[in-house]
């Protein structure tokens, strides 16, 4: 059952055609990977899937609903979260505060003008449990900008996770990580995979091979193959 579909996506920037007739579908509770060299159009694709850009042609469908062209916040409210390749954290906020902003508990009462967040122990507890999942519970009160790169990467994903999404889009999550950190990330993703549908963009093929159920290969704005990792390994086009 495909939870999310992208149909006949075309996108051009000026003269440059970036995506051409891209068709993808992501099954619920599976981890789908999107791989391809830099400049292949992966990030643009991601931006279109998550609502930052509108495709010139084509549709994006989530859970049977056409979400093409919806404003970003509306798409996010439907249960789609993403992490970013270039980190997008709240630099002045502490690690804990970064996560709290993402919590649905806060979002549901976002317009409340007197309820004091800092004294809401339920929210704080929930935030801590997220931090524990990503291994940052110790750094809860540190300013996010003072953390090491690897921890910031973890936080980057943690914030997306904290919004309890139905679908999680991860944009190059291993960027700049060492092998140890990469392992941690893989463990985390395995845990999250159980109750969330995940889509990962990567150009580290090996990483994707280990975690993805299905991988789409994007080259020059087109999807040239979609298959399970095992089958892809045998596909000469991909090699």
């Amino acid at each position: 059952m495909s939870l999310f579909e992208a149909n006949h996506i075309h996108k051009r920037f000026g003269q440059q055609v970036v995506l051409e007739n891209v068709n993808l579908s992501f099954e619920e509770n599976k981890l789908s990977g999107i791989v391809g060299p830099n400049g292949a159009g992966k990030t643009t694709l991601f931006n279109i899937l998550t609502g930052k850009y509108k495709p010139d042609r084509g549709q994006v469908v989530f859970d049977g609903m056409n979400i093409t062209g919806l404003p970003i916040h509306k798409i996010a409210q439907l249960g789609i979260a993403r992490s970013f390749q270039i980190m997008n954290l709240f630099d002045e906020y502490t690690v804990l505060e970064n996560v709290m902003v993402a919590l649905p508990g806060l979002r549901m009462q976002q317009y409340h003008m007197t309820h004091n967040v800092s004294t809401d122990s339920a929210l704080e507890q929930e935030a801590f449990s997220i931090l524990e999942r990503i291994g940052l519970a110790e750094d809860a009160y540190a300013e996010s900008k003072s953390l090491s790169y690897g921890k910031r990467r973890a936080l980057e994903i943690g914030v997306a996770l904290a919004s309890h999404p139905r679908m999680l889009f991860l944009d190059e999550p291993t960027q700049g990580l060492g092998s140890e950190q990469r392992r941690h990330l893989m463990e985390l993703i395995h845990i999250v995979k159980e109750d969330t549908t995940i889509v990962v963009i990567e150009h580290d093929m090996q990483f994707l091979m280990d975690i993805a159920d299905v991988i789409s290969v994007v080259l020059w704005g087109q999807v040239i193959a979609t298959d399970s990792p095992k089958k892809l390994k045998m596909n000469w086009k991909v090699l």
Binding site: T114, N116, L147, S148
Partner: protein, 343 residues
């Protein structure tokens, strides 16, 4: 309730100290060679500045046209008295607030999808437009001649009323307003709404992707900021007993920006108050020595931008951090840059 009181004890102690300090001002201001009226002026500008900083410091909206809303608030009170013969202080001030909300919402609705420099320039355009209209619509505002001879309407509770025609009594009335505004602002900033506002100031994109209608938040915050500034404007009309267009011009809109930044509004709740004090000290004390005091004020602002954008409050914060560094228990890891991250 008690939880808030205990968790934010320092904040409330500071607040209390500020209120007590301000309450004593009329008692000693004469002795340092200044007039009662100046205390009133400073207090009103403090309300204006605190309202302004909701937009600038907390939401990241650099408005260069806020003088328009201060002026609109003043005109609301003035027009109520002048053209409608109004006599109720409460209605007059409510009209000021309402005018701030209406004009703030309309302006905000048109500009809040912009950020940074474009936002700033849009607010300049709007500020100048409002100023221009205030001068040209002579039938309503009497143009540059202003609306004069306003009354400092009494504080009327029905069964008794308090005369606030003296500067000191108006000062204490304004102080009550100041206290209410400050407490409400504090609650707002620490609420869910404030949490989101501060988040979107740091990273608007991320906030959007977390499901927040960022444009709407900016609009509400901007409108509230205008409403508070307009309320201050209403009080200003009472203080001056008149309303003129000049506070709406770019010149004066710029001065509130400079005050708030110098004071440290970008990083501190009380920054705006510090900034207002700095301005008036410069005006009345440096001004006693040289006519070029405004030039020096501008130069101080330029220096702050270049060397210490966190302003006076920031400098204070840095100094106290330096003393505390000896006692730091948590040692944080050195940040490692594995890739070039944009600022």
């Amino acid at each position: 309730m008690t939880q808030i009181l205990s968790k934010f004890r320092t904040d409330f102690i500071k607040m209390g100290l500020v209120f007590i300090f301000l309450a004593t001002v009329p008692l000693w201001i004469g002795r340092i060679g200044l007039y009662d009226y100046i205390a009133l002026e400073i207090l009103i500008w403090c309300i204006y500045a605190m309202g302004y900083n909701l937009a600038l410091g907390y939401t990241g909206l650099p408005s260069f046209g806020h003088g328009a809303f201060f002026g609109i608030g003043a005109y609301a009170m003035a027009i109520y008295q002048f053209h409608f013969g109004g006599t109720s202080l409460w209605i007059g001030l409510s009209l000021s607030i309402l005018a701030g909300i209406v004009f703030g919402a309309v302006t905000g609705g048109l500009v809040s999808h912009r950020r940074g420099i474009y936002f700033a320039l849009l607010t300049i355009a709007f500020g100048q437009m409002f100023w221009f209209l205030a001068i040209k619509l002579r039938d309503v505002t009497k143009g540059e001649d202003g609306l004069l001879n306003l009354e400092r309407l009494p504080v009327d509770f029905g069964f008794f009323s308090i005369d606030i025609s003296s500067s000191n009594s108006l000062y204490y009335f304004s102080l009550v307003i100041f206290v209410i505004v400050v407490v409400l602002l504090w609650l707002l900033i620490h609420s869910n709404f404030g949490y989101v506002i501060r988040a979107l100031k740091q990273n608007e994109t991320r906030a959007q992707f977390l499901g927040y209608n960022v444009r709407f938040f900016k609009l509400i915050s901007f409108t509230l900021s205008c409403a508070i500034s307009a309320l201050a404007g209403g009080l200003f009309a009472l203080a001056q007993r008149s309303a003129f267009p000049d506070v709406m011009a770019l010149h004066w809109s710029g001065i509130i920006v400079m005050m708030v930044i110098i004071g440290g509004g970008m990083v501190s709740f009380w920054g705006p108050v510090l900034g207002v004090m700095f301005y008036f000290i410069t005006r009345d004390i440096v001004g006693g020595i040289t006519e070029a005091w405004l030039m020096w004020f501008g130069a101080a602002f330029m220096a702050v931008i270049v060397f210490q954008p966190e302003g006076i409050a920031g400098m204070w914060g840095n100094l106290s951090k330096r003393f505390q560094r000896v006692n730091t228990k948590t040692k944080l890891e050195e940040p490692q840059e594995a890739q070039h991250e944009p600022v």
